[in-house]
Symmetry: D2
Subunit: 292 residues, 4 copies
C-alpha cells in the first residue's frame, strides 16, 4: 500500500520507519524537511508539499501536534483532504478533540473517503520498538483494511466503536486517568515530604501496591524532582486536560478531578513550569504546602 505520512516528529518518525520495515511505500511530509530526511535512507520518499505526499495515496496517516495543526493541514486552504483520493482512508493518530474528529468524519464522509481515528498509547521509544497500543474507531470494514498498518505500528489494538470520535474520547479519558495519577502522587508526596519520610521509599511502597511501570517511572521523577528534559511538556498536559473538560461539557459529565487538574496545571504554568515534564504538576502541590 502507498501511504502518505504527515508529521515526522518524535512519534511520527519511528512510526514511519516501522511502516517502511513492513514493506509499505511511504511518502513523508514534515514542515521542517530536515526531520523527514533521515527516512529517505530507509526508503521513504520525502514530499515537498502536503499535496505531493497525499495525491494518489491509498492511506493517509497524520501524526500532528494538536487540533490546530490537524485542522490547518487537512481542512485549510489548500487542505490535504482535497488532494486525497475518493476511496482513500485517513488514519488520524494524533490526540485531538472530539469536535474536530466529528468534523473530519463529516468532511471525509461527504467526499466518499473513509476516516479512522487511531490515537496511540506510548512514548517515542515505544513507537520505535513497535510497542504502541492503538485505540481505533471506524467502520468495521475500514478498520479491517487498516489492520496491516496497525500490525506494523504496535503491539496491540483496541477497537472501541464505529464512530471515529469514540477513539478520541477514549484516548482523552486515558490521558486524564494518567494525569490524575500524577496529581495524586504529587499530593501524597508533599504529605510524605512534610512527614520527613524519604520520597523514594514512599514510591517503593506505592510500587508494592500498584506494580505498574507508570507509577514506578513517574514516581521516581516526582521523588527525585527530575523534570528535565520533558518527555511531555506541562503546557501540553494542560491542553490535554482541556480536551477532557471539553468532552465532559459536551457529554454532560461532571468530572471534579479534571477541574482540580486544570487549576494545578494553571498554577504550574503561572509558576514557570510550562516547559518542565508534566509530572512537575507535583511541584504545585509541594509549593502550595510551603515546600520549595
Amino acid at each position: 500500500m502507498t501511504i502518505a505520512f504527515l508529521g515526522a516528529g518524535n512519534m511520527g518518525e519511528p512510526m514511519a520507519r516501522n511502516l517502511l520495515r513492513a514493506g509499505h511505500q511511504v511518502r513523508i511530509f514534515n514542515r521542517t524537511r530536515a526531520k523527514a530526511a533521515p527516512l529517505e535512507a530507509s526508503g521513504a520518499t520525502v514530499a515537498s508539499s502536503v499535496s505531493d505526499a497525499v495525491r494518489g495515496a491509498d492511506i493517509l496517516i497524520t501524526m500532528l501536534a494538536n487540533d490546530e495543526a490537524v485542522h490547518e493541514t487537512l481542512l485549510g486552504a489548500p487542505g490535504a483532504i482535497d488532494a486525497l483520493r475518493g476511496d482513500a482512508i485517513h488514519i488520524s493518530t494524533s490526540t485531538i478533540s472530539v469536535r474536530l474528529s466529528k468534523e473530519l468524519a463529516h468532511e471525509h464522509g461527504r467526499r466518499g473517503q473513509s476516516f479512522v481515528a487511531a490515537p496511540v498509547l506510548g512514548r517515542p521509544d515505544a513507537a520505535a520498538d513497535k510497542r504502541l497500543w492503538i485505540i481505533a474507531a471506524g467502520t468495521r470494514a475500514t478498520i479491517d483494511r487498516c489492520t496491516p498498518i496497525f500490525d506494523a505500528l504496535g503491539r496491540g489494538l483496541s477497537v472501541v466503536g464505529e464512530q471515529p470520535w469514540q477513539a478520541n474520547v477514549t484516548k482523552i479519558a486515558v490521558n486524564f486517568t494518567l494525569a490524575a495519577a500524577l496529581e495524586a502522587m504529587g499530593e501524597a508526596t508533599a504529605l510524605i515530604r512534610k512527614s520527613d519520610v524519604e520520597p523514594r521509599v514512599f514510591i517503593d511502597v506505592l510500587n508494592a501496591l500498584f506494580g505498574s511501570p507508570v507509577y514506578e517511572n513517574y514516581g521516581r521523577m516526582i521523588a527525585d524532582r527530575a523534570f528535565e528534559p520533558a518527555g511531555f511538556r506541562l503546557a501540553l498536559g494542560l491542553k490535554d486536560v482541556g480536551l477532557t473538560l471539553d468532552a465532559s461539557r459536551d457529554l454532560t459529565v461532571p468530572m471534579p478531578m479534571a477541574g482540580v487538574l486544570r487549576d494545578q496545571f494553571l498554577s504550574g504554568i503561572a509558576g514557570g513550569l510550562e516547559d518542565a515534564d508534566w509530572s512537575a504538576v507535583s511541584e504545585v502541590a509541594a509549593r502550595h504546602a510551603g515546600l520549595t
Copy 2:
C-alpha cells in the same frame, strides 16, 4: 517468642496463622471469641480477656478496625498497655491516625515499652499467602527485633522512619493514592459510558497503559458495576479519606483531590452505597452525569 495477638478478623486470622506456622507461640484474643476459635486447632491459645492475652508476652500485635478500637483496647480502663511487660514491643498493624500513633508512642515510651507502627498493604487473601507488604517505623533496634515477625507475615518491608507515626502517614498516603485512582477511573468511565464505548474495552486500554493489577481488578469491578460483596466498604473508604484530611491539615498540606474524594464518598453514602465496595464511588460520578 510469645506473641499476644489482638484482633482475629479477616486480616488478623490469617496473619496469626502465619505466625504459628513460623513457630511462634500465639495467644489470641478477639471480642467475638468464635472468630478466634479456629486458630486453636493450629496451636494458638485463645485468651478470654485482653489482659490474659497480653500479660507476659514478648510482643503485642494489634490488628483492629480503627482508631476507636485501638484506643479503647490499649488505653481504655483497663487497657492492654498496663498489662504489657516493660520490655515488650507493641506492633500496631492497623490503619490508624497520625494522632493516635503519636499518643501510643508517648504512652508506651513513658512505660519503657517499645512501639512500632507497621500497617500492611494487602487484602485477606494476600495475608493468607504471606504476600503482605509491611510499612514499618520505629527505632532501628526495635525494628531489628521485629524482623522475624515481619518475615513470617509478608513478602516485603519498607522502613520509612524512626517515628512510628511516619509509617501511619505513609499508609494513609498510599490509601489516598488508591482512592484517587478509583475516582479517576469512575469519572473516566462515566465519560466512556456516555460515549457509548464499552467500559470493559476502556479498562483493557487502561491496562495497556498502566499494566497494574490494581487498575485491572478495580477497573473490572467498575466496568461491570459489581460492587457486592464489598472487599472494603465504601463507608470505611470515607474513614480513610478522613485520615488523609486530618493528616493534611495537621501537616498543612493542601490536597484538593482528597477534598474531591471526601465529597464523592459522602454523596455515595447519601445515595445508599455505604455497604458497597469502595470502588462504588465510581457510581457517584455516573449518577451525577445522569446515568443510572
Copy 3:
C-alpha cells in the same frame, strides 16, 4: 444621534425604549420581527435587515444572546461591521467572551471604527427602570461620546479600562462571584435542611449578615425551591461559567470555585434542570446530599 439597535429581547426592548425616551433616533432590528414591533409605536424604526438598521447610523448598539449571535451578526457574511460607517461607534452590551471582544476590537480598528464594550448589570425590570449599571471599557474619547447613551440606559457607570475586553472580563468576574454566592447558599441550605432548620429562617439570618438584595431574593428562591419561571436559565449559567473558565485559562489564573461551579451546573443539566432558573444549582447540592 441615530442609533442602530440589534436585539429586541427581554433586555434590548426596554433599553431601546429608554433611548427613544431620551430623544434618540432608534432603528431597531430583531430576528423575530414581532418582538421589535411594539417599539414602533414609541417612535422607533423597525428595520427589515441588519444592514438596513446599521447603514448610516452614528452608533451601533448590540444586545444579543451570546458569542455565536454576536459573531454571526457582526462578522458573518454579510456582517453588520461592513455596513457600519467608518466613524461610527459600536457599543456591545452583551456578555461575551474576552476572545470575541478582542476580535471585534481588531476588526473595528482596521476599519477605523470605534469599539466600546459596555456589558450591563441588571435584569429586564432594572433595564425598564433605567437602573442598569454599566461596565464600560474603550478609549477615553469614545467613552465620552457614549455618555448620553449610558445616561439614558442606567443609574451608574464604571469605566474599567481602555481595552474593550477589560469590561467583558469584569462582567465575567462579577457573574462568577454571583454564581459562587448561589452555590454557597445551596450547599449551606442543604446542610440546614438536613439539620431540620427552616430554610426561610436561615435566609433571614443570612440577610442579617449580608444585608443584600441579591442574597435576599435568591435566598428566598432557594429556600422555597421556586425556580420557575427562570429569570436566567441554568444552561445559560453554565455558559457564563464557561466564559469564566476560558478567561481564567487565557490569563493563567487558577479558579477552583469556578471549577466547582462547572461541575455543579453540569450535574444540574444532567439532572434535567437546564431550563430552571440558575439558582436551581442549589438543588444539585441537595440531591447530592440525598434530599429530594
Copy 4:
C-alpha cells in the same frame, strides 16, 4: 437576674457592658483578670474563679474562643457545670461544633439545667453598639426566659429550633457562606488584576450588584491588600471551615466549596498568612496565579 459571664475578650467585654446597662447583675470571670477589670467600674463583680462566678447565678453566659476553651471551662475538672444551680440556664454564645453542643445539652440535661445555644453575628464594634444578631435554639420556654438578655445584647433574634445544636449549625453555615464570598472575591480579583483593571473599580462594580456592606468592606480590604490588623485571623478561619466540614460529614452533605476553602486556607497558612485577617485568603488565589 444574676448573670455569670465567662470570657471578657473583644466580644465578651462589650456584651457584658450592655447587660450591666440593662440593669442586670453581672459576675464576670476572665482568665486574664486585667481584661475584666474595666467592667468593675461599670458595676460588674469580677470573680476570682469560674466557680465563684457561676455559683448561685440565674444565668450563665459563655463567650469563649473555641471548643477546647468551652469544653475545659464547662466540663473540665472542676467544671463550671458542677457549680451551676439546678434551675439555671446556660447560654453559649461561642461558635462551637455541633458535637460539643450536643454534649453540653446532654450534660446540662442530666443535671436538670437548661441549655440554649445562641451564637451571635457581628464584630466587636457591633457588640458595643448592641447591633449583634442572635441565632438561638432551645426549648421555647427557655428561650422566652432569655428574651431580656437577648434584648440587651442585640438588634435581632432568629430562633432556629428546639435543639441547641441547630443554632450552632446555622452559625457554621452562615460563616461558611461568608468565607465562600471571600474566596470568590479573591479568585475574581486575581483575574481582574491580571487583566490590568483596578481592583477598587472592580469592587465598586461588585457593590453595584450586591449592595452589601460585607462585600463592600471585605472587598476594599482585598482590593487594597490591607490584611493587618486582623479582625478575624486566617487561622481561625480554617478552624471555622473545619467546623463546616465536620458538620457536613456528620450530616452527610457534600460541600465542594467547603473543600476548596479548606485547601486555600491551608495554603495561606503554609505561606505565612495565619495571623493576617482571614480575607487574606484572597492572596492565595493571587499567588497561585503568579501575582506577588
